[in-house]
Amino acid sequence: MRPLHSTTPDSDGEPPGDPLTTLLSASARGDESSFARLYDQTGPRIFGLVLRVIRDRAQAEEVTQEVYLDIWRQSARFDAARGSALSWMMTIAHRKSVDRVRSSEAQSRRDTTYDMKQQAVPYDTTVESAHRGLDAERVRKALETLTPTQREALELAYFGGYTHREVAALLNLPEGTAKTRIRDGLIRLRDTMGVEQ
């Protein structure tokens, strides 16, 4: 499973080569066993992301359940021309996680000090299998090519669930510059990892 694969918009008429795409289209037709396989192949990635953003395990389980229900409901609306199946699923999971942390204002996760400490120990969670390890290694290496500010801004945004304005405030950047750091960081990662355009 290569998470960075993206299908080009002109892959006109080709049968989808990505096994996750096949499982998604079967799910769209109501095939529950295909969906179960889709879950088995993506569960740790999705749950890991949700847990990392939300931090609270019980809430992360709840949101992961919502994410998969949404993936099931929306499966017919996945469009391979707009990215890989995994990327689509991660996008749904991330948005729901961010929505959840933003709506739980009372949570202690909004404690800035705690948050910055968390950033100091990235990528220490369980790696599920060898190929995921490889992906992780590629990502880790690519992250090293970012400037510290780009990396911090990106991690606060993606894992912290902060808006670019909040990121700017947390990093004492002038307002409006965090979004540039985030964009530049992503573009650099994309180019380093050779994500297809």
Partner: protein, 269 residues
């Protein structure tokens, strides 16, 4: 201003935007092919950031999810009202994407032939789901899971993407409710995220407020799975309305509000 919105692409790809920015960027996205192409790569990169964060979920989660999907039919593919392709044998993903991954508002991208095949294949799910979900709203029967849904979605999409669309947002705990009105189209749409289900035997009813201050029913919100985003086209004329209200009413609805609104949107600002 356009340059400014263009530069939000990175923040948008990692959901580091406010709701207003998200909305404005998606508007921009629907017209900017450059951003559409770039977003695919940036979202893939964003997703890969979590590749080292995988954690095995508890087995109970799998069981819950598989149990839950058994009770919900997948939404139909979005199909265009006006079939401009006209052939039955075409491939599934042959239409250029008008905008990139958008969780709830993905535009039509699958052609009619596939839709026909799909309807055939999932008929048994339709039967079960319709029984659970069809709700009669005034003269309008809302069948979220049948062929009427694409038409509803399409009408809603027209409002959401109207050039004169105005947007009114309310945050209610974990729920975000947004009313989008197009005076030109004389219609409005409610987009509700994470709306808690109404109390048993009740439904959420939508109301237009008239210039005279009267509340006129604009339909009921369809019952839906919790946590999902619901997009509801309001019944009635939006142009002259001065606001929209949501109340909890006995299932089937009331002729005028019987409870204090859970949300009120004023069009006056």
């Amino acid at each position: 201003m356009n340059d400014d919105i263009h530069s939000l692409i990175g923040a948008y790809a990692v959901d580091a935007v406010s709701e207003d920015e998200r909305y404005r960027f998606e508007q921009h996205l629907s017209a900017c092919t450059h951003c559409q192409a770039e977003l695919v790569g940036l979202q893939a990169v964003a997703g890969s950031l979590a590749s080292a964060s995988a954690v095995t979920p508890p087995p109970s989660l799998r069981a819950n999810i598989l149990q839950q999907i058994g009770t919900v039919r997948p939404l139909p593919p979005l199909v265009s009202d006006h079939d401009d392709e006209g052939d039955d044998g075409g491939p599934a993903h042959d239409r250029p994407a008008p905008s990139p991954v958008s969780v709830e508002s993905a535009p039509a991208s699958i052609e009619q032939a596939r839709e026909r095949r799909r309807r055939h294949g999932v008929r048994r799910f339709v039967a079960a789901a319709v029984a659970a979900a069809a709700i009669v709203v005034g003269g309008l029967t809302w069948h979220p899971w049948t062929g009427s849904a694409p038409t509803q979605v399409s009408a809603s999409q027209q409002v959401l993407h109207a050039s004169d669309a105005q947007r009114y947002v309310k945050h209610l705990g974990q729920t975000t409710a947004t009313v989008v009105r197009s005076k030109k189209l004389d219609q409005s749409v409610l987009v509700a995220d994470n709306m808690a289900p109404p109390p048993a035997g009740h439904a959420y009813q939508l109301w237009y407020q008239t210039p005279a201050g009267k509340m006129v029913s604009a339909g009921l919100m369809p019952a839906n799975a919790s946590g999902a985003t619901q997009t509801v086209l309001l019944n009635g004329a939006a142009d002259k309305a001065t606001g929209v209200g949501i109340t909890v009413e006995p299932a089937g609805g009331s002729t005028s509000p019987t409870t204090t609104p859970v949300a009120l949107f004023s069009f006056s600002t």
